[in-house]
Symmetry: none
Subunit: 212 residues, 2 copies
DNA sequence: ATGAATACTGTTATTTTGTACAGTATTTAT
DNA sequence: ATAAATACTGTACAAAATAACAGTATTCAT
């Protein structure tokens, strides 16, 4: 059985997915026909039948707006919008910072598509609301959401969240002559030379700011 | 206005949510009536009207299976993620900037959930890649993605995208003694006092930055 | 070259679905 | 006490939506 999509079938499948994302419901056949300027809904019905046969769609018969896209997202990734990921927003990073993330400290989630983010997030990606202006020199403001990745080796000059005195702060990671320390990007804040071990909780990969 | 749910309304709201999770579509009014053994669909319509009025539901009229649960996040936060919206990324804003958006200038899209964005985007929301450092004083860097809203009245001090000499630039909108002008947030750039009409293309509502 | 799949137009059922109108009874707030 | 909201029954209608039938033209694989 052939399972690859034709150009037209792909367009229609993508339209259905986009409509579902935007409106929360699948489009009706007439809405699809209208979008593609078909004068006959039969054209749509034909395409839907083909998409069902090939396994990309399912849904009850005789039931309005009941289409469900069941194709593996890996197929559409390059075509449609990139996949949406939910990044947990941790108001405060717990001291231990275990890899598991089911603790009650999740305050919400930030959902972005991976392309916008620029990196493909892992299960160790998390968001953090920035408090204070110690990183103003890097143009990171109070109230910004920092997206961080846990468990990667920070390169010199990258912004990291570090655990100091049981409180997590955003700092620039600096490596000088093999020795690592943390630099605040605001003259009013001191640099931090680690007394013992330097606990890096995450490397900043993106930032989101709300205005208004 | 009262916004709390009665026992019955809560049951119906939960049934709708459960149906959406299980089938991917909202139930029809008759399906709801059938589940609760109502002999009249009017009973369902009454409940739905109440739920809409109280702000727990929305969806188009005269449209099958188009219910959307939009309950205040405080109640359902762990259950429903807020809606994802696709904001078109316009590399360059065309001079005319018509309301229609089907031009070929869309370079991609930025997909974020509405809560993260902080505002509910309309069809006139768009994204723009920031070029240059004329807004560095507001901590907006080269390469950042600015999310803007077209067609709203800018308040003084807000960041706007304006059309100057057929090129779109980001500036601070300043209103002084009833006269509006544009301020660059970088001493190396001059302020712009509009010669003729000031064309505001959009007001910045959010910002996304990619690092690494 | 030939049948199958694709990509449509045009018309016509038939079902599904939301909404409206007219009631009744109970609870709740003012 | 009285109006408003709640929670229904029952009937009816029109719009919305799926589906089916009869065609045409093109592409594609065998």
């Amino acid at each position: 059985m052939k399972t690859s999509l034709t150009r037209r079938q792909g367009e229609i499948l993508r339209f259905i997915m986009a409509h579902q994302r935007e409106h929360g419901t699948s489009p009706s056949q007439r809405e699809i026909a209208s979008f593609f300027d078909f004068r006959s809904v039969t054209a749509v019905a034909d395409h839907l039948r083909a998409l069902r046969r090939k396994g990309y769609l399912e849904g009850a018969a005789n039931q309005a707006r009941s289409l469900r896209v069941i194709a593996p997202p890996s197929i559409f990734e390059p075509i449609v919008r990139s996949r949406i990921v939910d990044i947990p927003l941790l108001g405060e990073i717990p001291a231990g910072f275990a890899d598991k993330r089911d603790s009650g400290s999740i305050e919400g989630c930030v959902s972005v598509d991976v392309d916008t983010l620029g990196v493909k997030p892992t299960s160790r990606t998390f968001a953090l609301e920035v408090r204070g202006d110690s990183m103003i020199g890097r143009h990171i403001m109070h109230g910004d959401y920092a997206i961080l990745e846990h468990g990667v080796e920070p390169r010199g000059g990258e912004v990291v969240a570090a655990l100091i005195d049981n409180e997590s702060t955003l700092k620039t990671f600096v490596k000088e002559k093999g020795k690592a320390y943390l630099r605040a990007e605001n003259p009013r804040y001191p640099d931090l030379i680690p007394a013992g071990e330097l606990v890096i909780q995450g490397v900043m990969v993106a930032l989101i700011r709300r205005c208004r």
